[in-house]
C-alpha cells in the first residue's frame, strides 16, 4: 500500500521545492532609487476631476500650480507664478508667470496654458471647482500678455488667493490632441499625465487604484540642486488591508503607509529596526454631523444632548492613544479666527439626560431609532460610531451604525432628505483659510455639498461669513469669524471632536522629507533614500 503515499510524497515535494526556490528576503524594496508608497491612489489621475487626500500625491509630484503651500506651519509661496497683484476692490487679480518653465513634452508654459487650465476646471465643474464656481466664469480668465494671467472676480472673495494652489496647470497641447466630442479629454487625462511637475507619470504602467509609477523629471523648473540624491522613481503600490500594510512596512516592501495609522500599531512599528512612526500636527478636524432638518435634530436641546453624550477624552486618549488633541471648535484650533474664550461641549451623561428631558418636553422624538453613517473601510470612524452607540444606549437612545463608501456617502448629502441622521467625517486642509472650514460648512448657500451637510441655517451667521469672505484683510476678517463661530457653537449643529495629529509609518532610509499640512507630506521633491 505504498502507491498512494508515493504519489502524495512526490506532489508535496514539488510544492516544497517551489518554496525552497526562494532564497531569503528576496522581496525588499532595497533599490536605493525607487520609493515605494503603500498609500492609496485617487480614483483617477486627473487633478481637475478628483480632489482629495490621495490626489495630493499625484498633484504635488506630477503637476505644478501658480502658488504652493510649503513648510509647517503652511506658508503660501510663489511657484509657477513669480508674483501677483490685486486691485484695491479685490476683484482683479494678476499673476506674473515665471519664464522658462517646461512641460514634460518639452513645450514652454505660457499664460494661455494657465488660462486653459483654470477654464478646464470650471468647465468640468468637479471637486476642485468648488471654491471658484461662485466667483468665476470662463470668460473672466484671460491672458493680457504672454506671461500674465488675469482673473476678474464677480464679487470680492478673500479666500481666492488661498485656493490658487488647488489648480494644477496642465499642458493644453497634449490634452487637446486627445479630446473626444468636447469632453476636455476627461477620459484621457484620467489615466495619463500632462504636467510640468518634478516627476512624470508613466502611463503604460498605470492601473487604476493598483499601480502607478512616476519617474524623475530632470528638467523641472526648480532644478535639483537642493537635493543631490533625489528619488529616481516613485512606485505607488497601494496596500488594501491595514494589517498587510503594516507588515509590508515592517519587512521593507513599502516605504510609507497611509497617514491614518491606528494608534495601537505605533509601538510595534517604533520597536522595529526598519521603520518608525512620524507624528505631524495637521489641520484636519474630525466631526460628527447631525442633519439639522430631521427631527429631533431641529431642536437645540436635542442637539446638545447628543453633544454631551460623546466620550471625547475616551476616544482621543484610549482609542487613539492620545495621538490627537481635543478641538471643541468647528475649525482647526491652530488656525486664526478661533474665539479662544468660547467653551465647547464636554462628555457628561447627566447633562445629556437633562437636555434630553428638555427636548422631550418640547416634543422632540428622542426615542426614535437613529442612524450614524461611517466609512466602512475606516476603523477610526467605525470605532467612533460604536463608542457613541454604547454611550447613547446608556441614556436610552438607540443608535445604529451603518457602513458606507465615501463616494456614496457624499452623494447622499445632496438633499436634506437623503442625508442620514448623523455621519462621521474629517475636513482636511484643501486650502489654508477659515473658508475651507466654517465658511463652506455653515453658510447656507453651500447646502447640498457634503461640507455643509448639517443643513444649518442662521441668517446672522450667513451674514457674518459672507462679510468675512468679501473682506480682504485678516484683521477685518478674524473678528467676524470669531463672532460667527461663537454663534455656531451656541447652536451646536454638529459635534466637533478633535484636530488631528497624523501618524504615518515611514522607512528609516527616508531622508529629507519636508512636511506641510496641505498634501500631508506626499511631496517627494526633497526626499532622498539612504543606502
Amino acid at each position: 500500500m505504498s502507491a498512494p503515499l508515493k504519489l502524495g510524497r512526490r506532489s508535496l515535494g514539488g510544492i516544497a521545492t517551489a518554496a525552497m526556490l526562494a532564497p531569503g528576503r528576496t522581496t525588499l524594496a532595497a533599490d536605493p532609487s525607487t520609493y515605494v508608497s503603500g498609500w492609496a491612489l485617487p480614483f483617477n489621475l486627473d487633478p481637475h476631476q478628483v480632489f482629495d487626500v490621495p490626489m495630493q500625491g499625484v498633484m504635488l509630484n506630477a503637476y505644478d500650480g501658480l502658488y504652493r503651500y510649503q513648510n509647517d506651519p503652511p506658508e503660501i509661496v510663489p511657484w509657477l507664478a513669480e508674483s501677483h497683484t490685486v486691485s484695491e476692490d479685490g476683484l482683479v487679480w494678476e499673476f506674473k508667470l515665471r519664464s522658462g518653465v517646461k512641460f514634460h513634452d518639452g513645450s514652454e508654459m505660457t499664460a494661455e496654458d494657465v488660462v486653459y487650465s483654470f477654464r478646464r476646471v470650471l468647465a468640468l465643474a468637479l471637486a476642485p471647482a468648488g471654491a471658484f464656481l461662485p466667483i468665476l466664469t470662463q470668460d473672466r480668465i484671460t491672458a493680457p500678455s504672454k506671461m500674465v494671467v488675469r482673473f476678474e472676480l464677480k464679487v470680492p472673495y478673500a479666500p481666492f488667493f488661498s485656493a490658487i494652489p488647488i489648480v494644477s496647470i496642465v499642458n493644453p497641447r497634449v490634452i487637446q490632441a486627445n479630446e473626444k466630442n468636447g469632453d476636455w479629454a476627461k477620459s484621457w487625462l484620467a489615466s495619463n499625465g500632462a504636467g510640468s511637475g518634478a516627476y512624470k507619470i508613466i502611463p503604460t504602467n498605470y492601473r487604476p487604484l493598483e499601480l502607478l509609477d512616476m519617474e524623475i523629471n530632470p528638467d523641472h523648473f526648480l532644478g535639483w540642486s537642493h537635493n543631490p540624491k533625489p528619488v529616481k522613481r516613485i512606485a505607488y503600490r497601494p496596500v488594501k488591508e491595514t494589517s498587510t500594510r503594516v507588515l509590508a512596512l515592517l519587512n521593507g516592501s513599502i516605504d510609507c503607509t497611509d497617514t491614518n495609522l491606528p494608534g495601537d500599531q505605533v509601538e510595534r512599528i517604533n520597536a522595529s529596526k526598519v521603520a518608525y512612526v512620524q507624528k505631524d500636527v495637521v489641520m484636519r478636524i474630525f466631526i460628527i454631523r447631525m442633519n439639522n432638518t430631521k427631527p429631533p435634530f431641529n431642536n437645540l436641546n436635542a442637539r446638545k444632548a447628543f453633544a454631551h453624550a460623546f466620550n471625547y477624552s475616551g476616544f482621543i486618549n484610549d482609542i487613539l492613544g492620545g495621538y490627537a488633541t481635543r478641538d471643541p471648535y468647528p475649525m482647526p484650533d491652530n488656525l486664526w479666527g478661533i474665539p479662544k474664550d468660547a467653551k465647547g461641549y464636554d462628555y457628561d451623561l447627566k447633562k445629556a439626560k437633562e437636555y434630553m428631558a428638555k427636548a422631550i418636553a418640547e416634543g422632540a422624538p428622542m426615542k426614535r431609532p437613529f442612524e450614524i453613517h461611517v466609512q466602512s473601510d475606516n476603523d477610526q470612524a467605525l470605532q467612533s460610531g460604536q463608542l457613541f452607540q454604547s454611550d447613547l444606549a446608556q441614556i436610552g437612545i438607540n443608535l445604529k451604525v451603518v457602513g458606507g463608501v465615501w463616494g456614496n456617502m457624499t452623494a447622499n448629502t445632496k438633499t436634506p432628505e437623503t442625508t442620514p441622521d448623523m455621519w462621521v467625517h474629517w475636513v482636511s486642509t484643501y486650502f489654508v483659510d477659515p473658508e475651507n472650514w466654517v465658511g463652506q460648512m455653515y453658510d447656507s448657500q453651500f447646502h447640498g455639498t457634503w461640507k455643509a451637510s448639517c443643513y444649518y441655517k442662521n441668517a446672522e451667521v450667513d451674514g457674518l461669513l459672507r462679510k468675512a469672505r468679501s473682506s480682504l484683510t485678516q484683521e477685518v476678517r478674524a473678528p467676524l469669524y470669531e463672532q460667527a463661530i461663537r454663534q455656531i457653537m451656541a447652536d451646536s449643529p454638529d459635534i466637533w471632536v478633535y484636530n488631528s495629529m497624523q501618524l504615518q509609518g515611514l522607512n528609516k532610509r527616508i531622508k529629507g522629507r519636508k512636511f506641510c499640512t496641505v498634501g500631508q507630506g506626499s511631496e517627494m521633491r526633497t526626499v532622498s533614500l539612504e543606502t
Partner: protein, 280 residues
Amino acid sequence: MSLILRKLARDVPAVIGLTIVIVVLIIAVLGPLLAPYPEDIAASHLMRRLKPPSWAYPFGTDNLGRDILSRVIMGARGALMVAMTVVSIAMAIGVPLGLIAGYRGGWLSEVIMRVTDAVLAIPQLVLALALAQLLTPSLESAMLALSLTYWPFFTRIVFAETRRLTSSLFVDALRGIGAGTARIVFLHILPNAASPIIVRATIGLGFTILVAAVLGFLGMGATPPAPDWGLSIAESRTYLPAAWWYATFPGLAILLTVMGFNLLGDGLRDLVDPRLRRSR
C-alpha cells in the same frame, strides 16, 4: 429510521459533526445565560480594551474592551438564524419550482430551468455582494441576497429527482389507478426527493454561515454592534498580529460550526446516496 441512525452512529466524522451542531444549537438557545458578560453586545469599556485572554476574560477583550467569549457565544444565535432563514427561504422558492419544472415539463419547465441556469451561471458571492450593495448594506439585505442566490441549488436537485421519479414505473402505476397530481407530487415524489434536499440543506447551512461571514467581513452583512463572527474578524484586522486572540476565537467559532454542518451533511449523503449505500 433507527437503522439509519445506527449506521450514522458508526460514522465517526458524522457523529463529531452532529455533536458540534447540537452544541452550537444549545449555545445559540441559551446564549445570554451562558455568556459571562451578556451586556457586552453593546457596552464599551475603554479601560480594558485589547486585553489578552485571562481568567476574567478567557478569550480576551476586543477594541472596545468587550469580552470576546461573550460575543462569540452571543454570535451563535445570529449565525444560525441567518443560516436557517436563508436556507428556508431558498427551499421555499427552489423546491416548488423544481417540482413544477420536473413534473410539468414543456415551456414552463424550460423557462424555470433557464432562469435557474442564469442564476447559477455566476458565482454566488458575486451576485450576493451586488444584491446586498444595491439593497443598501444590512443584515436583512445580506440574508435576502443569499436566499435569492441559493434557491437554484434546490431547484436543480428537485428537478432531477422529480424527472427521474416521474418517468418511473410506480408513478405511471399511480396515474393508472387515477391518483391526482397533487397526491402524486406531495405524497409520492416529494418524500422520495427529501433525502437529497436534507443533505443539501445541511451543507447549505454551513455554507451560508461561511458566505455570510465573508459578507460581514466585507462590510456588507451584519452591522455593529452585532456580535457577528465575520464582522468581528473584519474589525480585528487592524490589531493583528498583536491582538491574535481577537481574530482567532471568532474564526474558530466559524470553523467549528461550518465543519459541524459539513461533516453531518457528508455523513448523511453517504447514508442516503444509493450508490454509496452498497459499500457499507
